[in-house]
Subunit: 253 residues, 3 copies
């Protein structure tokens, strides 16, 4: 396990490596989230690409360092793109973001198939996790899910839970305004993808990305006048985030 | 009819009910407008969803409280999604936003078919209304249109006109910068959808939503440096809007 | 050739004509860039439209003054839309923005076909140009490319190069934050389209648009706290840009 201060340093190191290496993250994501996700990745120092055309997604993923698979705006073209992309991503880290699976049986079914293809990380909120885990009532349901599917679960909300089935940590940063900006979760997923490129321990990579986003959110809230200005302020804060901010503010346990 | 102060209170009540109930608004809207519309709904206290996949839109609309049908980015997939969605929306309020119908005969024809399916409200600008009403020269053309099609017309512009054919009111709030932010009208339509969920009188619901947006626009203009900062400032202002703001600023007649 | 001060005045004149005439620019662009591109055009005084539906794009382009063809999010629907649009655009200025052609052979091949259809301007970055010019090592490769294809090359980056094969000028304005906002290049392409409508000399039109954007970027950087606030500040700055700003700041050679 890691003490809070240690984790702040790990997050700062991961951020520094993202800024130095500029990893390419290919994002299959919904059209609502594309712009915000791209700007979040750029602010962190990564390089986004977004095409979902079956004709060319293979080439894009082959040239990328990580892959984001987000199921918002789930349609035939994206489904086919995901299949091609996962083939081209062999061996690279990829993250599944099963947006709104609790609202659509077709989407939930597809998400289950994708879990079977061993994502490096599944990032989702509580309603999505409940749907995907068939409402497993166990207190350690996220850890059980991670273990059963040999993946990592990043369950985000007021407190973020990150577990690989063995190791477990929570992050209590962030701000309520984060829930009022569309695509904030999707952008967080993209940030995890960037971290997975520069940190081989996917549990630490996920923690680092969520720590950075949560602390950036707290800093953004200091100057924001509402969700509109907050949406940009968190991008500014992530871009300028440094080790001192993380050490001062990170709340993990 | 309602006096201005009375309407300010009605708008404040509608906003309060949106914030308390968090209505789900499913939006079939163009890809240009999706992000801004989602953020506007979140700022008001509503919960947006946006999928247009024929496979799952039925489930989403069935779980939603209102439906927005916006014709910007009009394509085969959206046309088919709209048909499925209207079937699933039976009995729920829905709004038609016939974007740019004056530019495309195919779109205008489709909009006319949709008017025949009895939208709760049609929100549009003057050029769109002229096209849809076959350039009816009558001074009371919006009221005639509303009556003929058993709908409500919300004709927005420098002054907004809201009529159900019998009742008629104008709102003279807002700011010229609103016309320089893409999707402002689309976002306004989404806000009306949220209001329709919590206020059964669709004329009052429409007035309340446009009053809130117009007053938020005026407040935003006080601090904005141009259309870029204004786009976020109006979201901040809507999020923070209170009864005193509405009472002080609302200009209806 | 034109002295710097002269070019500042030309840029100011072009901006004034855009604001007075409100040219319609139809944009076939990727879904990541649509919102930002629309807002940039609106801030400059132009009127954007964005549909890519084959059913109606002909009518939209026929009613537009210029056409943007951006290859980001390259899919079958957009490919077909581009073909219809170029037919409808006969005689109108159009710009090709071959986004990320270096990443996808299919996209590069399609971009080459489009260059053969004589775009008024090709705007792209260095990696894209290298791919499209088959890595022509000549120092004057952009001029050679422009001449060979009877087009104009706008090669943007830290320094922008604008050449029609005979005339050549560079602009050294802008700010590094511009590279951290997604769709900034796409939005710049759209701005060139607006300029092409009001200035018949496409070399001057392109210089004017890039000069305006670069100077707006410098002004925006003065107040921005990072890439999030910068994205809006440059829209504000473009909206408020005047002759004095251009004369004071423009760096051409």
């Amino acid at each position: 396990m890691h003490a809070p201060v240690e984790l702040a340093d790990i997050a700062a190191d991961v951020l520094a490596r993202i800024r130095a290496r500029a990893p390419r993250v290919h994002c299959i994501t919904n059209s609502v989230a594309q712009q915000y996700t791209a700007n979040m990745l750029l602010a962190a120092g990564a390089v986004p690409s977004m095409t979902i055309s079956p004709e060319e997604i293979g080439a894009f993923v082959a040239g990328a360092d990580a892959l984001l698979v987000n199921l918002g705006t789930f349609d035939i073209e994206r489904k086919s793109a995901i299949d091609v992309a996962l083939g081209a991503a062999a061996g690279k880290p990829w993250l599944l973001d099963p947006v709104f699976v609790e609202r659509s049986p077709a989407r939930a079914q597809f998400a289950r198939e994708l879990v079977g293809r061993r994502p490096s990380v599944v990032r989702l909120n509580r309603a999505e996790f409940d749907s995907l885990s068939d409402h497993d009532p166990a207190g350690d349901a996220p850890a059980r899910f991670a273990k059963a599917h040999a993946t990592m679960v990043a369950l985000t909300g007021t407190v973020d839970v990150v577990t690989d089935g063995e190791r477990h940590m929570t992050i209590a940063n962030g701000d309520p305004l984060m829930a009022l900006v569309t695509a904030m979760g999707c952008a967080g997923s993209a940030l995890i993808c960037a971290a997975l490129v520069v940190e081989a321990d996917r549990w630490l990579a996920t923690l680092a990305a969520l720590a950075a986003l949560g602390v950036a959110g707290e800093i953004a809230a200091l100057s924001a006048s509402g969700p509109g200005s907050f949406a940009n302020a968190i991008i500014d804060a992530l871009h300028g985030l440094d080790r001192a901010d993380l050490r001062k503010r990170l709340k993990v346990s």
